[in-house]
Amino acid sequence: MQTVFERPKALSDVSMHYCPGCTHGIIHRLVAEVLDELNITDKTIGVAPVGCAVLAYNYFECDMAQAAHGRAPAVGTGIKRANPDNIVFTYQGDGDLAAIGTAETVHAAARGENITVIFVNNAIYGMTGGQMAPTTMPGQVTQTSPYGRDVKTAGYPVKVCEMLSTLDGTAYAERVSVDSVKNVKNTKKAIKKAFEYQLAGKGFSIVEVLSTCSTNWGMEPVESLTWLRENMIPYYPLGVYKDKEDSK
């Protein structure tokens, strides 16, 4: 019998703790498929964040570190500087990367740190039960923006790819989404390219993945995908924001 679909070797054979329908699982799988395809699992070191993906160290078959909230890019920097031959990636949520860890993120990018960041933007803090994130949409109701995010008092969402693409050290920044089959395929391509850029020593690469949090958005999984498509994509346009290849 021919095998047509199987678990990527870089993904551990354990059940994940994510809520049913959560797109973190899809993104994990894509990262693992890329590690398999590039045949780099045995030289890769991943850094798990604080957030729903805190247990990511249980899910990838490569060496893994768990970092303090927001500090994954600094931890990744230390690992990469110690072992430059290893491939280093961080996997971070929006609260982790764009709130408490903004400085670590911006400066790892500015240094052109040769690491890959997988940035999962679900417009909310998942793990702590659905509070407002820096990426929460204007008007979006969360536990700590119960009347909808009011930009007059809470300010505007942080557009990470746009911001990081202004830095010379950023080699590659692309925003993708996992709301449809077509977009999932694009996400995989972007993740692969980000790792390839690191393999080629080009510098900091980041893939921002628009993701869902059905649990804290209070929606069915399929409804969440629609909400992402109709609300997030117009505000966070998909596409390549920086590609050092282009600039040459």
Binding site: N58, D63, A65, A68, A74, G78, I79, A82, N86
Partner: protein, 354 residues
């Protein structure tokens, strides 16, 4: 053959770290320790090492976390306000049992305080370097030579016990220049780090460096185990004793205060007062046994320190308050004078007699 060179305390620390095989330094400027970073920035590129100026102390200690997790000797250095920022990373290093070396060249506080020498971070170093149950190994040099020697030792014990070892100095020690014998050879063969993140290379199961344990029983068990290790570490507690054999009065002081105290002790001895010094070289583990045995003979204790009285609590605990303990202190960046210490000695000697 001894090779003596004139060096600032801060430079001696940096040179010792390099001799100990440290090739990864993550820094952020703050007075009065910036020479450590400056020295590293000059030397590291020449010897194939990394000097990285982080965006903050928070980032620097987390870079140390990453480098240490990847199996190399790594170090960061700062002064009081910067050490406060590092406390998050120190707790994670402890929770993940990673070795690291941290330097604190203290300045006056609290807050932005000042830039003059202080010992006001004693509690922070020995009691509360971050959240959770853990300790750092804390060395307190009092000469530039010791800043050199103890830094080498700090790397060795950090690896041996998989702990953070801190060099706790003060602004004066950091800035003073003294001749240093740098011929001491460091043991730079690292212990096997089979836990380090180096990539599985297809030949072993994956390694995880982590401090998250959601099962309370498991976390408690790990904390118990860590404290069993700390009981072993207690054995490295040590002091330097000066004229203590016949002493009626014992001064306890570390760092620059111990040097001031020695001057005062020499004066007091001329006046016939039998006074000696017990200088803790390790502040954690605190040399309790050495103080207990000093208390068998002495009538009174004086603690000289540059804080509102922090180490005095450890001294009282160590001798179980069996002798009167007085405090001779300055704060805010002021260094006690030998005259003030001499007056304290005379007082303690009188009180002890009556």
């Amino acid at each position: 053959m001894t090779e003596k060179v004139l060096m600032k305390g801060n430079e001696a620390i940096a040179e010792a770290a390099i001799m100990a095989g440290c090739r990864h330094f993550f820094g952020y400027p703050i007075t009065p320790q910036t020479e450590v970073a400056a020295y590293m920035s000059k030397r590291m590129p020449k010897i194939g090492g990394t000097y990285l100026q982080a965006e903050s102390e928070v980032a620097a200690i987390n870079m140390v976390y990453g480098a240490s997790a990847a199996g190399v000797r790594a170090m960061t250095s700062s002064s009081s306000p910067g050490i406060s920022l590092k406390s998050e990373g120190l707790s994670y290093l402890a929770g993940s049992d990673l070795p690291a070396v941290l330097v604190n060249i203290q300045r006056g506080g609290p807050g932005l305080g000042g830039i003059r020498p202080s010992q006001a971070d004693y509690f922070q170093a020995t009691r509360s370097s971050g959240h959770g149950d853990f300790h750092l190994i804390v060395f307190a040099p009092n000469t530039v030579q010791e800043m050199f020697d103890l830094t080498i030792e700090a790397f060795e014990v950090a690896d041996r016990y998989r702990m953070t070892a801190m060099i706790l100095g003060d602004g004066m020690l950091g800035q003073v220049m003294e001749p240093v014998d740098i011929s001491r050879s460091a043991n730079i063969t690292l212990p096997g780090k089979d836990w380090a993140l180096t990539g599985t290379k297809g030949s072993r199961k994956k390694n995880i460096v982590n401090s998250l344990y959601l099962e309370a029983e498991e976390l408690e068990m790990l904390n118990f185990k860590r404290f069993e290790k700390y009981a072993e570490v207690e054995k490295i507690a040590r002091t330097e004793n000066y004229l203590t054999d016949d002493a009626d009065v014992i001064i306890v002081a570390y760092g620059i205060c111990a040097r001031v105290a020695k001057n005062a002790i020499n004066e007091a001895r001329k006046n016939g007062i039998k006074v000696g010094l017990v200088r803790p070289v390790t502040l954690w583990p605190f040399p309790k046994k050495q103080l207990e045995s000093a208390a068998e003979k002495a009538r009174a204790f004086i603690v000289v320190e540059m804080s509102m009285g922090q180490m005095i609590q450890d001294v009282e605990l160590a001798i179980r308050c069996s002798r009167p303990v007085s405090l001779c202190n300055r704060t805010g960046g002021m260094v006690p004078t030998p005259e003030a210490v001499l007056a304290a000695i005379e007082n303690a000697d009188q009180a002890g007699r009556s």
